[in-house]
C-alpha cells in the first residue's frame, strides 16, 4: 500500500481535487438515479 | 408477405441507406476532423495557411530551453522525420516532458517558429508502476548499447 496516512490518501499525490471531484460526482449521479426510481414507485 | 417481414425489410433498407450516408459523412470528416498535424505535414505545406492550427508529436530530447523571463519556453516537436521549433509563454501541463507526446496550438511566424498559445500533453495508453517503467528503461538502454 502506498498511503502513509489518511491525509496522504485524501491528497492523492496532489491530484485530490480531480480524483475526488470525479468519484464524488459519480456517486452523486448514482444516488440521484436511485432516489428518482424510489420516488416514482 | 407478413407485415412483420415487410417491416424487417424496411428497417434493413433504412439501415443500409444510413450506413451509406454515414460512410460519405465519414469521408468528408476525415479531412476536417484532424485534431493536429504532424511536423512532416507542416513541412509538406499540408497545413491551413495564415490561420491557427495544432501540431502534434514528441518533444525532441534535449530541445527544451527556458528563457530568462522564466515563463517562455522553446522546444522542438518531432515525428522523427522533421522537427518544428515551438515557442510558448505560459504554464506547461504536468505531463509535459522531453521524449513524450505533445500537442501545441498556435501559428507559424515568419521565421518558421511555431508560436503556441496552448500546449497540451498527450500521454500514451501504458499504465505501470514507476519501478516497472525504470526496469523497462534500463532494458532499453542495455539493448541500445548492445546494438
Amino acid at each position: 500500500m502506498q498511503w502513509e496516512s489518511i491525509s496522504d490518501f485524501f491528497a492523492m499525490g496532489g491530484y485530490g481535487l480531480y480524483v475526488w471531484g470525479s468519484y464524488s460526482v459519480t456517486a452523486l449521479c448514482v444516488v440521484i438515479e436511485l432516489v428518482d426510481l424510489r420516488k416514482n414507485r | 408477405m407478413k407485415p412483420r417481414h415487410k417491416r424487417l425489410i424496411l428497417v434493413l433498407v433504412a439501415l443500409a441507406l444510413l450506413g451509406l450516408g454515414a460512410t460519405f459523412v465519414l469521408k468528408a470528416f476525415r479531412s476536417n476532423l484532424v485534431f493536429f498535424y504532424t511536423p512532416t505535414e507542416v513541412f509538406a505545406g499540408q497545413v491551413p495557411q495564415g490561420q491557427a492550427f495544432r501540431i502534434g508529436g514528441m518533444v525532441l530530447e534535449d530541445s527544451l530551453q527556458r528563457n530568462e523571463d522564466g515563463v517562455t519556453v522553446r522546444f522542438a516537436v518531432t515525428d522523427t522525420m522533421e522537427n518544428v521549433p515551438v515557442q510558448y509563454t505560459g504554464i506547461l501541463p504536468d505531463l509535459f516532458q522531453e521524449g513524450k507526446g505533445v500537442v501545441a496550438q498556435g501559428r507559424m511566424d515568419k521565421q518558421g517558429i511555431f508560436v503556441a498559445d496552448q500546449v497540451l500533453a498527450k500521454h500514451d495508453e501504458n499504465y505501470m508502476p514507476p519501478e516497472a517503467a525504470e526496469a523497462l528503461e534500463r532494458a532499453r538502454k542495455i539493448k541500445m548499447e548492445a546494438e
Binding site: Y18, S22, E33 | V11, M128, P129, P130, A133
Partner: protein
C-alpha cells in the same frame, strides 16, 4: 431480481475500489491522477454498450411490434445517459491535470458528447409523443440512426489524430496496463454492468406498470401483435 443485481454490484464496487485505491500502484507518468480510470473507463464502456442494447431492443420492438422490447429500450436510456455524463465528467477531471485542458474538440471527446445528445434526444422525443406506441416507433428510428456513432467513438482514436490516447485494453492486442490496475478496472466495469442491469430492471417494471396498468397488462400483452 433487481435486488440480486444490486447486491452483486455493491460487492464488486467495494472489491474494485479496494484494488483501485489500495492494491494498484502509482502510475509512472500520471502519478495518482490515473486512479480516475477505475470509473472513467467502465462508464465509457457502459455508455456505448447500453446504447447498443437499447438500439437492439428498439429494433426488435419496431420489427416484431412487441411492446415489452420497446419498454426495455425506454428503460435503458436514462442509465445510458448517466453513464455518458459520468464518462465525460470524469474525463474532464482527468484531462485537466494530465493534458492541461478540461475539454478539447478531438474526435473521441466530440463523438462521446454526440452520444449524450443522442440519449437526451431519444428521451425527449419519447416524452414529446403522447401515444406510447407512436413514441416507441419514432424513438426507435432515432436510436437506430444513432448507432453509427458507437463505432465512431470506439475507433476514433485509430481513425484520426486525437489528443485522447489509444485503447489500453482491446480484443486485438494484450493490455498495456499493470495487472492489478487492469483487475481493478475490469472489476469496476463488471460492477457498473450489474448496476445498469439492476437499475433498468427496476425502471422497466415501473414503465410496464405505468403504461399497461395491472389488469390490461395481463389480458393484452400476452400476444405479440
Amino acid at each position: 431480481m433487481a435486488t440480486f443485481f444490486f447486491l452483486v454490484a455493491a460487492i464488486l464496487t467495494v472489491w474494485g475500489l479496494y484494488i483501485g485505491f489500495f492494491v494498484a500502484p502509482t502510475d509512472f507518468q500520471q502519478g495518482e491522477s490515473y486512479r480516475i480510470i477505475f470509473i472513467h473507463v467502465p462508464a465509457a464502456w457502459m455508455s456505448m454498450l447500453i446504447y447498443l442494447v437499447m438500439s437492439f431492443w428498439a429494433a426488435i420492438g419496431l420489427i416484431m411490434n412487441t411492446r415489452l422490447s420497446s419498454m426495455m429500450a425506454h428503460a435503458l436510456a436514462p442509465t445510458g445517459a448517466l453513464m455518458t455524463f459520468v464518462a465525460l465528467w470524469t474525463g474532464a477531471f482527468w484531462g485537466r491535470p494530465t493534458w492541461g485542458a478540461w475539454w478539447v474538440w478531438d474526435a473521441r471527446l466530440t463523438s462521446e458528447l454526440i452520444l449524450l445528445f443522442l440519449y437526451i434526444g431519444y428521451m425527449a422525443l419519447r416524452a414529446s409523443i403522447e401515444d406510447p406506441r407512436r413514441g416507441d416507433r419514432a424513438s426507435a428510428i432515432l436510436a437506430l440512426v444513432g448507432v453509427v456513432n458507437v463505432p465512431i467513438i470506439y475507433f476514433s482514436v485509430q481513425w484520426w489524430n486525437t489528443l485522447h490516447q489509444g485503447a489500453s485494453v482491446s480484443l486485438t492486442k494484450s493490455p498495456t496496463m499493470a495487472t492489478s490496475m487492469l483487475t481493478g478496472m475490469l472489476v469496476m466495469a463488471l460492477a457498473f454492468w450489474m448496476y445498469s442491469i439492476a437499475v433498468s430492471l427496476m425502471r422497466v417494471r415501473r414503465i410496464i406498470r405505468d403504461r399497461e396498468g395491472n389488469a390490461t397488462w395481463l389480458s393484452e400483452s400476452s400476444g405479440v401483435q
